[in-house]
């Protein structure tokens, strides 16, 4: 007991130490980059138009450097940074677990770890990646940072709730991390009963408690986003002038708010069953384990859409910007997000085709699952239609976005295999399923997250990332990803089951290919971590709008001032007013700079949103409308 307690405090200390380190780095960086100390000889003359004062203007990063100002901030931008640091840590932990898993699968009998350890590793990987990276990733980092700015708001509707949400997330993470450190969990991230409730000797309750707490963080974030979108929009910003990123985060928030409580309840029931040894799901006491699966997937299937919808939102921002075109059929893309959110609540049963669920229920769930493909396909077709005849430039964010479209399409289509009743019987619980959801989660969401991170990095940090390394990393991730997960489709089709530490010798070559891919993927993920952090010191200063993009967030300084806008903007047009003439002029203009850093594009076409003052005072219209 004492030993485990000291290990707990060790874990807490380690986590807080790393967090402090990251924040310290962020705080240290600003004083260092005073213009006097850091001459920038590479500046091109064309950038002279950007006014460069002796001292940096006040922004959200340099207004206060103390640790306290970071840890008690209610500024949505700073909270986004806190989240970014924290989920990056979790991503590294989950990624390390995946690395050991892949290394172990190099040999048919298992190359590295004992079977029990292997079970704990894939559980750790799943729990951390799902609840502490994928679900929070885009909403809490990019959403927190960008969403209020896209709405022309000074902050989210409930800034203190936002901070509380971060701390709940952190404590949930510490709980779960502690459970992993004091012995781990071996149930898989799905916690299926009765194994999790009566048989597993691992730290199920502690892990579930961590996920439970983190769940409330999700609920509060979702609540905040919904209320903000309804009530905090700038004057003139009607629903159909909202960027798609807002629509998809809104749809995500609906799922967060309505599905997460059911997970909270399910995990409480599981904990009660485990602690008091009473049967809610235990068949020995008349309970029904399938009820657990129903309740669990009622949350966890919509949660899959929590993980992909924000990614779709990011891609919907990047594609029009780098194709210099308005998004094709805006309303369809917007409503497709809502359709996915709603249909996503009705398909959970497709996880239980072979779990003894009624055949007729399975048929209905199968049909409904096929229906989700329609809004997903609408999005894919509309992105490609946006590209058609666009003036496409292949900057790093665009590379990620294009990768997303391809990988998401593969992931989505293989989902239809799994939604087919007969095919599912054969590939259920095989590597086919693993490959399918990694194409969505990693090929989709992580690509979109990285794409969005590069796209908004100038806004977040005030610095440009190195374009050359950005492209190298994007291509490395794409190649590594496909090499890792494509062989798993074949493995699954050949019948290799998931969650086993060993496998028949005939599968070795494909597993080796997968592990090789994973090591390439690891390099691809390591690169941005290095060059993005380095760019805080060495990156070119970002102008307010380096991409010539049209969103409201680009109409304020980079990094933005504490309250985002000096004057609340008044919106008069739609979100993607990219003009084709402007794009043509850009293509005709000779590429003056070349080299590693691409030239900064001229400011966007017609300035579509003007500051309030020029519109003859503040208009109250639109501000309260919902």
């Amino acid at each position: 007991m004492n030993e485990s307690r000291s290990r707990i405090s060790g874990a807490v200390a380690a986590l807080s130490g790393v967090l402090t380190g990251f924040l310290g780095g962020l705080m240290l960086r600003s004083p260092v980059r005073q213009p006097e100390l850091e001459p920038e000889p590479t500046e091109a003359p064309q950038e002279l138009a950007v006014v460069r004062p002796k001292r940096e203007p006040k922004n959200y990063l340099n207004e206060d450097y103390s640790l306290r100002s970071w840890l008690t901030t209610t500024d949505h931008k700073r909270i986004a940074i806190l989240y970014m640091v924290t989920i990056t840590l979790f991503f590294v932990v989950g990624g390390l677990a995946a690395t050991i898993i892949r290394l172990n699968l190099l040999r048919p009998e298992g190359a590295l770890v004992r079977p029990a350890t292997y079970n704990k590793l894939f559980t750790l990987h799943g729990v951390i990646m799902v609840w502490f990276f994928l679900i929070p990733s885009i909403p809490t980092v990019l959403g927190n940072f960008i969403l209020p700015m896209m709405l022309g708001a000074r902050d989210l509707a409930f800034p203190r709730l936002n901070l509380a949400s971060y701390y709940l997330f952190l404590f949930g993470g510490i709980f779960t991390g502690t459970a992993m450190l004091v012995g781990g969990v071996d149930t898989g991230w799905t916690f299926y009963t009765p194994y999790s409730s009566h048989f597993s000797n691992s730290n199920v309750t502690l892990t579930a408690a961590g996920v439970f707490i983190a769940g409330f963080s999700s609920i509060f974030t979702g609540l905040n986003f919904i209320v903000t979108t309804h009530k905090m929009r700038a004057p003139g910003l009607t629903w159909f002038r909202l960027p798609i990123f807002v629509w998809s985060n809104y749809a995500t928030s609906i799922i967060l708010v309505l599905a997460t409580p059911v997970l909270a309840l399910t995990l409480s029931a599981l904990a009660i069953e485990r602690i008091f040894r009473i049967g809610i799901f235990d068949p020995a006491l008349g309970g029904d384990p399938v009820l657990f699966q129903h309740l669990f997937w009622f949350y966890s299937h919509p949660a899959v859409y929590i993980m992909i919808l924000p990614g779709m939102g990011v891609v919907s921002e990047i594609i029009p910007c780098f194709a210099r075109k308005r998004i094709f059929s805006y309303k369809f893309v917007a409503f497709a997000s809502m359709a996915i959110a709603i249909l996503g609540f009705l398909v959970w049963g497709h996880h239980m085709f072979v779990a003894g669920q009624s055949m007729y229920a399975s048929m209905v769930f199968s049909i409904l699952s096929f229906l989700v493909a329609i809004p997903s396909a609408i999005k894919v077709f509309n992105w490609t239609a946006t590209l058609y005849k666009g003036s496409i430039s292949f900057d790093t964010p665009m590379l990620y976005a294009l990768g997303f479209i391809g990988l998401f399409t593969i992931g989505g289509l293989t989902g239809l295999f799994l939604a087919s009743l007969a095919v599912d019987v054969s590939v259920h619980d095989t590597y086919f399923v693993i490959a399918h959801f990694h194409y969505i989660m990693v090929g989709g969401m992580v690509m979109a997250y990285l794409g969005g991170m590069h796209y908004w990095w100038p806004k977040i940090s005030g610095r440009m990332y190195p374009e050359f390394w950005g492209k190298v990393a994007a291509i490395t991730v794409f190649i590594g990803f496909n090499l890792t997960f494509f062989p798993q489709f074949i493995l699954g089709r050949l019948g290799m089951p998931r969650r086993y530490h060993a496998y028949p010798a005939e599968f070795q070559i494909l597993n080796e290919a997968s592990t090789l891919g994973a090591s390439i993927l690891a390099v691809g993920y390591g690169l941005p971590l290095v060059y993005l952090v380095a760019s805080l010191w060495t990156g070119r200063r970002a102008p307010a709008n380096p991409w010539g993009a049209t969103g409201l967030e680009w109409q304020t300084a980079s990094p933005p001032p504490k309250h985002n806008f000096d004057r609340i903007p008044v919106v008069t047009t739609g979100p993607y007013e990219y003009s084709s003439e402007q794009a043509e002029r850009e293509t005709e203009a000779p590429d003056q700079q070349g080299g590693l850093d691409r030239p900064v594009k001229a400011t966007a076409g017609p300035l579509r949103r003007s500051p309030a003052g020029e519109e003859g005072g503040e208009s109250e219209e639109g501000r309260h409308g919902d």
């Binding site: 509707a157 409930f158 309505l258 008091f276 809610i280 129903h294 309740l295 309260h624």
Partner: protein, 230 residues
């Protein structure tokens, strides 16, 4: 700071001006925002309890006889008294919101105190009930004893009984604490007229707790007392 300029520019209205947080334009926006936030929070609560209701419904079909038998062992008298107590507290809460809007300080503080006491009375009665069930050996993890073939179903019924009423009691306890705090503040003259948003929010929460009970009462107490119909 930029916002201070904006704030100063706002015309000062008559009477006690409640504070507008810096992210809002005006009081109306702030009020609407809080209201929507509260409703959304209650929506998450509905889903939280909803999972339990779903589990209850599933098992009530599977273990129909056991659930009927279990329900016969609940204390319908105390349950009914408690229903009346809680509904009355909702009435006093609604009146409290009304008196806050009307700006009646003493009435507001008094009504909040009555609400608080009624909530506490509910908890006391519930505690007496729990003790009786413990004495009868109906608590699933504390010496549960129930002879006969229906034991499994009765056990499951009481698992849900304690889970649901316990979760309700936790919510009510939180509600009592919050009402206590705002009652003390109301005595000092807070929450009157334009400032009544907080009381309204707490009121919504309180009514939500009551509504949950309005569903729990028939499901748990009246299930076996409907004249034998299924």
């Amino acid at each position: 700071m930029a916002t201070d300029v904006r704030r100063a520019a706002r015309p000062a209205s008559a009477g006690v001006e409640p504070e507008v947080a810096e992210q809002f334009e005006d009081l109306e926006q702030q009020h609407e925002t809080y209201e929507l936030g509260m409703w959304l929070f209650l929506a998450t609560e509905v889903l939280f309890f909803g999972g339990l209701f779903a589990g209850y419904s599933a098992y009530r079909i599977v273990f129909h006889a056991g659930f009927l038998e279990g329900s016969r062992h609940t204390d319908v008298t105390l349950g009914t008294i408690n229903t009346a107590v809680l509904l009355t507290s909702s009435l006093t809460m609604a009146l409290a919101v009304h008196s806050a809007r009307a700006g009646k300080r003493k009435l507001l503080a008094g009504l909040l105190t009555v609400t608080l006491l009624l909530g506490a009375a509910f908890m006391v009665i519930k505690g007496v009930e729990y003790y009786g069930e413990y004495r009868e050996g109906l608590v699933p993890w504390l010496g549960f004893r129930f002879p006969g073939p229906l034991a499994g179903g009765v056990d499951l019924f009481f698992v849900f009984y304690f889970f649901m009423t316990g979760l309700h009691a936790i919510h009510l306890t939180i509600g009592i604490v919050i009402v206590g705090v705002i009652a003390a503040l109301a005595r000092k003259g807070r929450f009157l007229r334009e400032d009544s948003t907080t009381v309204e929010m707490v009121g919504l929460y309180w009514h939500f707790i009551d509504i949950v009970w309005v569903f729990l009462y028939p499901l748990l107490y009246l299930l076996s007392r409907n004249g034998g119909a299924p």
